[in-house]
Symmetry: C2
Subunit: 381 residues, 2 copies
């Protein structure tokens, strides 16, 4: 297995959730270089408030993450509890206090049940091993139906490991998801500060399940500095690939989703315009339900483009489904049966061409199903 050198992993069940792993640890005996990108929601979880501070420090040795409780909307008490957890784990690892980055995901408005968590710290630490990344990946799951792990190796033998959680509340701007990009490359903090936001913008910020953004979104990048990078371009591209594959897995596991749909806008006048149009289609409930129903109702796509208020000539729009020309000059080009056949596939590319300019944007989305409602109405996330 491709595991970046210098990292150990662990995951245990504390009972925050019933009979499921809910506490995870990433630990490096050596100091790490790290950076983070966080939610833009005004309401920020304790882990986000603390993480934003911690990444500016010099000494970081890993991540302590929990699922089940988001520790958001928990006020000062929530911050205190998160600090207690960090302190207790740090103490037993003999590393300085506040040198572990926190991450939480789960129900908003509930406090961390420390009485359940603290007694499990010894087990958590004794479970540390390079092979146990899957235990960590499982410990951060909420409505996820599978753990999300991606490995890549560059030609220079640098390994990049991505671990993420996320299945719902995924929207432009990185809604409830946690992601950890780990590498044994030697990089500077300045490099991460510059590159990580770009990577996030082209991966996690281009996915949409339900248009909601969360209080806890966090992407951390951690580097153990054991391997020298020469080809920086290739390194950055590989990190982006890892992030994009994680983003894809999150959409694939979208709550109740039966299809992954890539919305591609081409020919927009500005980047911003391309993004707005792509997101409007990706987030439209009517488009998402039409895909679920495998109904080639292209008017809903036109309507979703138009509701942005962005000016375009409807007659100039061209639409392709999985490469099959579908709509041009407001007319259906192929017979509906061919398009319906394409709609039945689990992976769909919807390409929308404008004739305004040269800019483009891609966003991944899902269809919207009864199962989404069931999960979100009857399961407390």
């Amino acid at each position: 297995m491709l595991i970046p050198k210098g990292f150990l992993f662990s995951g245990v069940s504390c009972g925050i959730k019933e009979n499921k792993p809910d506490l995870g640890l990433i630990y490096s005996p050596r100091e790490l270089t790290c950076w983070g990108v966080f939610t833009t929601n005004t309401v920020k979880a304790a882990s986000v408030l603390l993480g934003k501070k911690f990444i500016r420090q010099k000494e970081i040795y890993g991540v302590i993450a929990n699922s089940g409780v988001a520790n958001a909307c928990t006020g000062e008490e929530g911050v205190k509890k998160a600090l207690t957890l960090i302190k207790e784990v740090s103490k037993r690892l003999s590393i300085p206090y506040k040198s572990l980055l926190p991450a939480s995901t789960g129900v908003i408005g509930e406090q961390l049940p420390l009485e359940k968590i603290l007694p499990k710290i010894d087990d958590l630490i004794s479970g540390l091993s390079a092979q146990n990344y899957i235990h960590f990946a499982k410990a951060i799951m909420t409505t996820d139906t599978f753990p999300k792990v991606v490995f890549k190796k560059t030609e220079e033998d640098i390994v990049i490991l991505g671990v993420a959680k996320g299945a719902g509340m995924i929207a432009p701007n990185m809604a409830t998801m946690l992601a950890f990009i780990l590498t044994d490359a030697q990089v500077s903090k300045d490099y991460l500060k510059r590159v990580l936001p770009k990577i996030v913008d082209h991966s996690f910020n281009r996915i949409s399940v339900d248009g909601d953004t969360s209080t806890n979104d966090t992407v951390y990048m951690l580097c153990s500095n054991l391997k020298e990078v020469r080809n920086w371009e290739k390194f950055e591209a590989t990190c982006l690939e890892v992030a994009k594959e994680l983003a894809y897995l999150i959409v694939k596991d979208g709550e109740g989703a039966s299809k992954v749909i890539k919305i591609v806008i081409k020919g927009a006048q500005t980047k911003k315009e391309a993004k707005l149009l792509a997101n409007s289609v990706a987030n439209s409930l009517l488009v998402k339900t039409a895909f679920y129903g495998e109904d080639p109702n292209w008017g809903r796509i036109l309507s979703a483009l138009g509701k942005t208020g962005i000016k375009f000539v409807p007659e100039e729009i061209e639409i392709y489904l999985n490469g099959v020309p579908w709509i041009a000059n407001l007319k259906v080009l192929k017979n509906e049966e061919k398009i319906k056949e394409e709609m039945r596939k689990p992976e769909i590319e919807l390409l929308i061409k404008l004739k305004k300019g040269k800019l483009s944007c891609e966003v991944l989305t899902t269809d919207l199903t009864e199962e989404y409602i069931r999960i979100n109405a009857h399961y407390r996330t």
Copy 2:
């Protein structure tokens, strides 16, 4: 029954939809004063393109409306077909060509089937009667489960009749809905130009079912000028009441909805801020599914407020459900059972108080149910 003097109504089935009324006429033998407010979607139906021109003319005698086909994304051919329909009806009413306002609602991307509609015009006209407003109301229904009609009379004996359709795609900014406000008051076009947008802004623009806006939204106000208005304030207020009640009925009939939820924001710094916050909560799928599941998951409400990016102190937010204090200082004030009991009611008021300023906003929304998905995935609207 309270019917404004001077108006006749009719509705027939042409077969645009199967065995359901789908063509409606409002006619006044006298010239009307009228104005309209239309969708802001860049993609505009033929009826919207024409209606926007027609309201600027002097002579208007009524409305010709159809359901089943939206006549949107139909290009020049769509406009020609709409004009043919208007021309044929006008000819048989012996009124000038282009003196009927058009309105359409239904599937986008399909042409008006004139071969089915034109043979029914004689029946449509012979059915005209002051009592037949309900036939008109039925003829404009699509996924509506009941016709929407509201009557009011002022102390001066002025009658205002509102007829509307709408059950889905209802969002801030007046998504797929048609509304007709008819009165026997004597008003000037300038008065309507000034007052109708205000009325729309405080009624139809304050409702939300699924966040989608449409190509066909239209609100027409038509006045037969038979009664003199003295108390203008009262008149305007009564018109607004009619519009608000129609808006309420549209939400009540929201596709698959089991509850009507009034979101009230108080204490915002600006009007714009209050509106953004109210709409963010009203459109959040996670809030809407939580209400459906009768799950007092207040974290989703805080998260929906926060995702606007508007700054506030989470600790200062107060939340009330049907007047029952629920959240303050990030704590649940009453036990969850009391809140759950309130959530079970079909009519809910969710009051959110900020401590930033004095401005407020109200938006009506619904819960989101499996039935919404079923309707929109398997029924072509």
